[in-house]
């Protein structure tokens, strides 16, 4: 359980984190979302006492700075992955392990676990981005902590790695651990996270579960398919709905599915499909974090495009 209260951080003129308060529950994965520069990394550094600002973060009731062997309680993977230039990956972890009374055996174990078993005696300077990321995760997992704080852990991982990371985090959460993870891969987040903390420009936009977030920030759309839809389109528009044709279907927003069905019935239109299209987390994110006027439902086609593009990008 993480309790953050009144986190605040200012860099000269910019307020990076503006009085954020949230709880992260154990047993589920909590996603931490926000556009670039919204203050996610700064928040995590504040939570760990790496940056000094206002507010307080308690990990199972304790401040990070007061935990004697913190790696055994809180594992952290931060944005920067600094490694010593002349030390092997294994020695890097052994050093950190020693300060926290963690056995060397565990070092080999986690390196094997993250898939770096074969290169553990190599220097991390020669690691690729994804390998460094895995080493960072190994470091976070070293003390088998109850709480994990991960800043964009999927950054640089290959598709298998991303999939693996998702499984690992879900498994760890199901063991009753507290997982707080930031990411820009929203489709991944949708599969992985149960709870969300969404921020924009350092302030809280949303804190709650994923479904509520999607419902709150998007209007659901109704997809209608049929052989002859011209009359139906007119009737729907007369009811105040916004109708866009997409291939051979109509995408209706601003009307509930039952109402759409009723309109079709009254105009006597033949229907081959009548379904709700649930908006994706990505769409909700866009609408929540874009300028407040720009809600996704007003421009459904445009908003849907980046979603598919991103999905294709990930599939590569």
């Amino acid at each position: 359980m993480i309790t953050a209260k009144g986190l605040y951080k200012r860099y000269r003129k910019t307020v990076a984190v503006d009085h954020l308060s949230f709880d992260v529950r154990p047993g589920v994965v909590t996603g931490f979302l926000g556009p670039n520069g919204s203050g996610k990394s700064t928040t995590m550094r504040l939570m760990l006492g790496l940056d000094h600002g206002e507010g307080e973060t308690l990990f199972d009731g304790k401040q990070f700075g007061t935990i004697r062997r913190p790696m055994n309680e809180v594992g952290a993977l931060l944005e920067a992955k600094p490694f010593h230039p002349t030390r092997s990956a294994r020695n890097h972890l052994r050093m950190l392990a020693a300060g926290n009374r963690i056995a060397d055996k565990r070092v080999d174990e986690v390196m094997e676990f993250v898939g770096l078993g074969d290169v553990r005696r190599k220097k991390p300077k020669g690691y690729s981005l994804g390998m460094a990321q895995r080493l960072g995760l190994a470091q976070a997992l070293l003390g088998d902590p109850q709480t994990l704080l991960l800043d964009e852990p999927t950054n640089g991982l290959d598709p298998h790695g991303i999939h693996w990371m998702r499984d690992v985090l879900k498994t760890l959460a199901s063991e009753g651990r507290t997982i707080f993870v930031s990411s820009h891969l929203l489709s991944e987040m949708q599969l992985m996270a149960d709870e969300l903390v969404v921020i924009g420009r350092g302030t809280m936009i949303f804190n709650g579960d994923v479904d509520t977030f999607v419902r709150e920030f998007t209007q659901s759309q109704v997809v209608v398919r049929g052989p002859e839809t011209a009359g139906l389109t007119e009737a729907l528009k007369a009811e105040g709905a916004e109708v866009v044709s997409e291939d051979d279907a109509l995408v209706v927003s601003g009307l509930e599915i039952g109402k759409v069905g009723h309109v079709a019935f009254t105009v006597g239109a033949e229907l081959h499909e009548l379904s709700t299209r649930r908006a994706s987390l990505e769409e909700a994110f866009m609408s929540a974090t874009g300028s407040s006027e720009e809600f996704v439902a007003k421009e459904p086609v445009r908003a849907a495009e980046p979603a598919t593009a991103a999905a294709e990008g990930e599939a590569l």
Binding site: M71, L78, A80, R87, G99
Partner: protein, 238 residues
């Protein structure tokens, strides 16, 4: 705790330092009993280790994982400080012992080793080295990097203080004369003198403090640097 303290490179340098300065030390030992005016080699090498103890962490950003594995900053500094101090004391003692042994082998005797001028100067030399290293440690932590700390620790004693001292010889700048005895590195080097420095005929009377008072000024200087660095380290973002 060894891990938090000296970095791998620093250890390597330590090994190098243990061997290299010995040659120079052998000479100086043979000539004046272990101390040389200016900067002793050993002090310089050990000060580099002192600077690396913290500076290196910042240079490679490893301070971040270090702090996530040991977030109590004062404990971290204390641990590093203890290791640096112990290493310095051990290496200094070792080097002095070896030099003494060499002197015995070469000359078969080491007259007056534990007596006043030589004995006290040797003790002063060991103290000087330790304080110098602590200054290095403080500078590394203060500047959060290696190069700037290196520059300061070498430029301060070798150039800046010499210039001030040189300027003090000019009659128009004689107000600098009383300042000279407070120059930390100059004061510190009095710790390891055998005979009081002679600045030549016509030199102003610097009214230098005694050996131990001068040493005290040097120690005070180190303490100020260390304390400032320590306080800042506790307050700054990692």
């Amino acid at each position: 705790m060894g891990l938090l303290v000296t970095t791998g490179v620093a250890v390597l340098l330590g090994v190098a330092a243990r061997n290299e300065p010995l040659d120079a030390e052998i000479l100086t030992t043979a000539v004046n009993g272990g101390a040389s005016f200016g900067l002793p080699f050993l002090a310089v090498f050990m000060a580099i280790i002192g600077i690396f103890a913290c500076g290196h962490e910042y240079r490679h950003g490893t301070i971040q994982p270090t702090l996530t594995s040991l977030p109590q900053r004062s404990r971290l500094i204390l641990a590093k400080l203890i290791v640096v101090t112990v290493t310095t004391v051990v290496v200094t003692a070792l080097s002095m012992a070896i030099n003494t042994a060499v002197v015995y082998i070469v000359w078969g005797e080491a007259p007056g080793l534990f007596e006043d001028p030589i004995g006290t100067a040797l003790a002063g030399y060991a103290i000087y080295t330790l304080i110098y290293v602590l200054v290095g440690f403080g500078l590394g932590l203060l500047f959060r990097g290696v190069p700037s700390a290196l520059v300061v620790i070498f430029l301060m004693p070798l150039i800046i203080e010499s210039i001030i001292m040189g300027l003090a010889f000019i009659p128009a700048l004689d107000w600098l004369v009383p300042v000279v005895k407070f120059l930390p590195f100059t004061a510190g080097s009095r710790l390891m003198e055998i005979v009081p420095p002679d600045f030549g005929p016509g030199s102003p009377d610097f009214d230098l403090f005694s050996r131990w008072t001068s040493g005290g000024i040097f120690a005070l200087f180190a303490a100020v640097i260390l304390t400032t660095a320590w306080i800042l380290f506790k307050k700054r973002d990692a």
